[in-house]
Symmetry: C2
Subunit: 223 residues, 2 copies
Amino acid sequence: MTSAGPGRPRHQQPSRPGATARDEILDAAAELFTTQGFASTSTRSIADAVGIRQSSLYHHFKTKDEILEDLLEGTVSGGLKFARAVAALPGGTSETDSPAGTRLHAVALYDGTQLCNARWNLGVLYHLPEVRSTRFARFLADRQELRRLYGELGAGLSAVPGGPDGGDFTFRLVESLIYLRADGVATDDSAAQAADAGLILCGLGQELPAIRAAGRALIDRLT
Amino acid sequence: MTSAGPGRPRHQQPSRPGATARDEILDAAAELFTTQGFASTSTRSIADAVGIRQSSLYHHFKTKDEILEDLLEGTVSGGLKFARAVAALPGGTSETDSPAGTRLHAVALYDGTQLCNARWNLGVLYHLPEVRSTRFARFLADRQELRRLYGELGAGLSAVPGGPDGGDFTFRLVESLIYLRADGVATDDSAAQAADAGLILCGLGQELPAIRAAGRALIDRLT
DNA sequence: ATTATCTATAGATCTATAGATAATGC
DNA sequence: ATTATCTATAGATCTATAGATAATGC
């Protein structure tokens, strides 16, 4: 029998994914932050969505900022881990190596697919002015490292000599998936098309069919 | 002699650009919304920045939302007007006509330059969840029309058959300037490079030198 | 009479802390 | 003893309105 008085742990079925109360809070916060905005979402509304009291949130998180910090970190950690692994591979052109174009395509596809398929479109929170604070230094550093890895993989690749830097444009095209999704016009193809577009800007449009296959193989190998 | 009591119009030098009190309020709000966030900016802090009392704002704007509405509308109206003018031009290939590639380049360069050089980087507010409300219908409709015009100008242009849609990718690359600027890595070239990248994705990389010149001429002719 | 400002305030929040209560695990 | 919840609340906001005051323009 379940009692409902003070101090009793909740024994109800969680209405949210997540093994722990902490995960339920994160999921509820992600939904509210992305649909109503960070500053407009009160700690009370997060607690209501989880089915606990407002003050109980503070057992799991020190501040409201800390919830956002956790969520943002989660959006970048997977892609960064993959990009690091890819960047550490030998980059030559022999049979066992992966040339830069292939590696860039794999990173873009992996990263873009994550952004498109994540349960909540948390990327819309990346550019909140609040996030520039030192509190979010780790997220910001991770995102910057990811950007740098794109630049490294695309180094020297450009469709026109002295023209747009293919690596950074690929990063930007992948992140534009966030806004495509926010505008409700993302499709199943969007991530693949963004990765392709990045490679075209690297001057590798001719080799795309081969790069696509090799890039997918790389993802399969590393995940 | 200036008196400082109640009811007296301010006779001080305005510390902000703008001929009217309304313009000063808009400028202060733009600064605060972009540097501290919309929901985190109180009407009091806007008023303080202008040098009036909090309640005096409500003489000029019915609500705080109305301030944001005005600001957002201002970021898209110029580019939309230009894109409409360009889209209305004859689109053939004779000497007096402007082919689609040239027109798309001109729109992207004009629009991107505005985003890069505007006094405040208001584009970071485009994807606030708050902005999805019906209150902002006009801004949303204008931005959508602008996106559609990019698609129209890029119709049928793609670097690879069946590949990425060049028009919409150009729109996305131009809007990515907002986030480049927010990240502090925009340069004087950024808008021109975004326009170039859009044309490359349209499969017009070979013709870029000619298109750049024709696009700039088109801007000069229409502005 | 209209415009632009002010003072004062209603009424509704909001975040975070203090301290009580009870279940769990040693 | 530790963990997770609760009630209660301090203290600080926040937006928008009401109504007074004075300058300006007819």
